[in-house]
């Protein structure tokens, strides 16, 4: 195999130009986390995923204002709410001040005879009206009297009151001067529902900025703003990960450069060392973007990790070059080993690329193309561009005698074997505590942020959205009817104390059928006037007081039904749109529950009614489990393929076993040590373990490579030590991160690299044979 250096260089330049051009025109980076969720197997999981993406829960921002006297907080809260409503970024702002929800109140009033569950034919008979009027009379004389006085003439049957009682839970926070306050009176509280979906982190970040700007615009400079909620968490997490990743990457880069400089003592090879991995990253991203469209941010992050082993390729080449040897000759000499190192990783990643999970598939493709490209650049491009004497000044004086060290290492076999057995025992001991199934533990939130969220949620009486009742229908209308059917049994469960409350789309938009039957229950103008006259005989209301009532009923009786168009622009529209969603086989009405105390009984009742109870926590844990199972299956498949490739490439099953054994041993020990430290394995650890396999195989292959003379053995050991040191320092930096994702990857890889190195030295090294090639 040979290629003129110029042709290699030209091909490389064309590749870089093509990839850059493609990315410049087509690259879009996705932040939709749900791409990383598996294509769900059942409808409950699909519902979970859609809820995570853009459900009601994902859009809530809890806001608290503190640090001032209550009157200043009240003012700030009112002005903030006004500013946020004007910003257009929020569907619904609730500061406890119902009076300021003007649009919603107008809707309630205009459509009260179609929305109120109390509207029946009996209510408008003489007896029904008489009872309602007597009740209104008592209310007028009660402390609530002054407040219902104005509406009484147009709504003597109290329909708007019924709807409000129905919609507004009476377990809300304390109200001071019309706005929500914490029990101790130190914080004014608000809830905002963003128009942006929860997965849209940019949209969430914009909404958060809008809140900060709106507060600043109120001029309340001394008021402190506290924010919580899924969107706030997501955008904060992203910011934390980005800033940490940046400075940790800089630190890692600095350390790696330091090590390379110590070895090469010249800038040239240091710069050239970056080319393969940089080309690989470029080609990998271009390939993912070409195949999948948007490249996920996580693919980029993990991708850099997964092709991290490509940083080692130039080190193997440069350091193994003998004094005076042309680099082109060196790469030919170590070519078979390097090729095997690249191909094993490519094959391992192929299993991932075939995954039905788009996130894993993206990672797999990026690794295949990235590592492949880095290998090709090392093999063909580096010799073409590295000046003949660029690496000749490197320090050969490795202070350790390789031959002696290797001989000692081989004696450690029994210790290695014993530690593998101990590692296996350790894993077996922890087998029931192996996996971290709780999605929440993967979030980079500080304990302070979590406890603030708990406090605000408790003070606001906001639902935790763990439980949802789902009622399905063929189309929107039948889903609304199903929602009403669910409302019937849910009301009973509230009475039984199984739940504290619920929300339903049909509360805001009753089905056409229900609206029609309510409209049909309204008597014509003459009948109603006669009934009212008769009812007024034994109630001391003045004659003619209720003329507005007669007009309102006639308007409702002859007017149009309430439709989703009528709700447009109000908070009710967003409620209906988030609680009434299209699903794969029709429509589903969702009822978020508050204060669930008897989930088992609730699930049984829901089943009897033909509905289902969805426990989001259980479902999300199931989801993580299925993700993990798929990843494990793919990793096992990848390992199997690698073993086959090794046996073929080394033309010996025994040789293949010699190379694979240390890698497997390192994996077992890595896991056992993590477990003994009290870690549980998450998806991030699995991804990191894949990299450990890639790196470990390289070590084992080069340790196992036959060497011609002590000098070559010396250079091989030096190259391996340099590779090990760079990997250790790069991932060691990540291990210092406070972000669980970065920390997990850092610890796993740094530990795995050390273990692979030691195990390969002990188990893969062959005795130096003279004349071997």
């Amino acid at each position: 195999m040979s290629m003129p250096p110029r042709a290699a260089l030209a091909a490389w330049l064309v590749l870089v130009a093509l990839c850059s051009g493609w990315l410049y025109r087509n690259l879009s980076i996705g932040t939709d986390l749900t791409v990383f969720l598996p294509p769900s197997t059942n409808s409950a999981q699909r519902m979970l995923v859609s809820q995570l993406r853009d459900g009601v829960a994902s859009r809530l921002i809890l806001i608290a204002l503190e640090g001032e006297e209550p009157p200043a907080l009240v003012q700030a809260s009112r002005e903030l709410a006004r500013g946020l409503r004007a910003s257009g970024q929020f569907g619904f702002i609730n500061d406890g001040d119902l009076a300021s929800a003007v649009k919603e109140r107008e809707l309630l009033l205009a459509y009260r005879y179609l929305m109120s569950p109390a509207v029946t034919a009996e209510r408008f008979t003489v007896a029904g009206l008489s009872a309602a009027l007597n009740e209104s009379l008592a209310l007028l004389a009660s402390p609530a009297g002054p407040f219902i006085r104005k509406i009484l003439p147009s709504d003597p049957t109290g329909e708007s009151r019924h709807i409000v009682e129905f919609l507004v839970p009476d377990t809300g926070p304390e109200i001071r001067d019309g706005v929500w306050f914490s029990r101790d009176g130190t914080r004014a509280l608000l809830i905002a529902e963003t128009r942006a979906a929860g997965f849209d982190i940019d949209g969430q970040a914009m909404a958060i900025k809008a809140i900060r700007d709106a507060l600043q615009a109120t001029g309340a400079t001394r008021v402190r703003l506290l924010l919580s909620g899924p969107g706030v968490f997501a955008s904060e997490a992203r910011a934390t990960i980005q800033s940490e990743a940046q400075w940790l990457a800089a630190a890692a880069m600095g350390l790696v450069m330091l090590i390379l400089f110590a070895v090469y003592r010249a800038p040239g090879p240091m710069v050239f060392s970056v080319l393969p991995v940089a080309t690989g990253m470029l080609a990998g991203i271009a390939a993912v973007s070409w195949v999948f469209g948007p490249v996920h941010g996580i693919t980029l992050g993990f991708g850099a990790t997964l092709i991290g082993e490509a940083v080692d390729y130039p080190s193997f080449a440069y350091i193994q070059a003998a004094r005076g040897e042309r680099l082109a000759d060196t790469v030919v000499r170590i070519g078979p080993t390097l090729r095997l190192a690249v191909l094993t990783t490519v094959l391992g990643a192929s299993a991932m690329a075939l995954s039905s999970f788009q996130g894993l598939a993206q990672l797999g493709l990026l690794t295949i193309v990235g590592v492949g490209a880095a290998g090709l650049v090392t093999r063909w491009v580096l010799p073409a561009i590295t000046p003949a004497n660029a690496v000749s000044r490197k320090v050969y004086a490795f202070p350790i005698d390789a031959r002696g060290a290797m001989t000692i290492a081989r004696r450690g076999r029994w210790i290695a074997a014993a530690s593998i057995v101990a590692g296996l025992a350790g894993v077996a001991w922890h087998h029931d505590r192996l996996w971290d199934d709780d999605l929440a533990n993967l979030s980079p939130l500080s304990e302070a942020a979590k406890s603030l969220d708990r406090t605000l949620r408790a003070e606001l009486g906001a639902p935790d959205f763990r439980y949802l009742v789902i009622a399905r229908g063929r189309d929107r209308e039948s889903a609304l009817e199903a929602s009403e059917a669910a409302g019937a049994w849910l009301r009973e469960t509230v009475g039984r104390g199984w739940i504290a409350g619920y929300d339903l789309p049909s509360n805001y938009l009753p089905s056409r059928k229900t609206q029609q039957s309510r409209r049909a229950a309204l008597p014509d103008a003459t009948t109603l006037a006669r009934n009212l006259d008769l009812a007024l005989r034994d109630v001391p209301f003045r004659e003619g007081v209720f003329a507005p009532f007669l007009e309102a009923v006639e308007r409702a009786r002859t007017g149009p039904l309430l439709t989703i168009e009528d709700l447009r622009g109000s908070g009710f529209e967003l409620k209906v749109n988030t609680l009434l969603v299209a699903s794969e086989d029709g429509w589903a009405a969702l009822a978020p529950l508050r204060g669930v105390s008897r989930p088992a009984e609730l699930a049984a009742t829901a089943r009897t009614a033909g509905h289902e109870l969805l426990d989001l926590k259980t479902e999300s844990n199931n989801l993580v489990n299925s993700y993990r199972d798929e990843s494990l299956r793919l990793i096992a498949l990848g390992l199997l393929c690698m073993a086959g490739l090794l046996a073929w490439g080394l033309r010996s099953v025994v040789e293949a076993a010699r190379v694979l054994a240390p890698v497997l041993a390192a994996l077992i020990l890595d896991v056992a040590i993590l477990l003994s430290w009290g870690h549980r394995l998450s998806l991030f650890n699995l991804v990191a373990l894949l990299l450990v396999v890639g790196i470990g195989l390289n070590y084992a292959l080069f340790f196992n490579r036959p060497v011609a003379d002590p000098d070559e053995q010396q250079r091989t050991l030096l190259s391996l030590v340099v590779c090990g040191a760079t990997t250790l320092s790069a991932f060691g930096c990540l291990a210092f991160s406070r972000t669980p994702v970065l920390h997990a990857i850092g610890v796993t890889v740094a530990l795995g690299a050390v273990l692979s190195f030691v195990m390969s030295a002990v188990l893969s090294t062959r005795e130096t044979r003279r004349g071997a090639t």
């Binding site: 009076a99 009872a131 007597n134 009740e135 009379l137 008592a138 007028l140 004389a141 009660s142 402390p143 609530a144 009297g145 002054p146 407040f147 006085r149 104005k150 009484l152 003439p153 009682e165 507004v168 009476d170 377990t171 809300g172 926070p173 304390e174 109200i175 001071r176 001067d177 019309g178 306050f181 001391p540 209301f541 003045r542 007081v545």
Partner: protein, 197 residues
Amino acid sequence: MKGCAELALLVVLLAAPTAGNAANSPPPLSIVELMQMLASVESANARFVETRHSALLKAPLVLKGTLTYRRPDRVEKHVLAPYDERIAVDGGRLTFENRTHNRRKTMSVSGAPGLAALIESIRATRAGDLPALQRYYALQVEGHRGQWTLTLKPLDSRTADYVVSLELSGAGARIGRITIEEASGDRSVMEISEQHG
């Protein structure tokens, strides 16, 4: 608030020499003194007659019933005629029960800001809880220990849209009458005869 109390004390001290001269008029009452006087009551039972005047009604509606108070935050108004209705505040919870119309509802007092203001006017006055009153109202007191009048004007503009003022009058630690003037022109007058426990 402390400054307010000190000022009141100063006024009383300065007024003291002249008070002796005006032999037959007792010293004017400060809000702090009134509150202290009212706060000394542990529990109270009363009968009331409330007359509700409204433009919506052919004739004023007259309610009769009982009031009970237990220091510091339990108040119950029990209407016995012309229907049976009980409104009780216990801590922060409001219970509304109308046996005639078979309706019962409990809610947080704070859930209805206007209602909370009205209920606090009675509860906090009875308990001598000055900070609670000042949260909702601008206060003005007239008269002396033997015969005083406390006028409350809502601070919150939304409540003021409905209620113009509340006037509580009494003698010593007893509240004798509560008059509510509404923005609609309606008013209600409650005559109370208290027995202290």
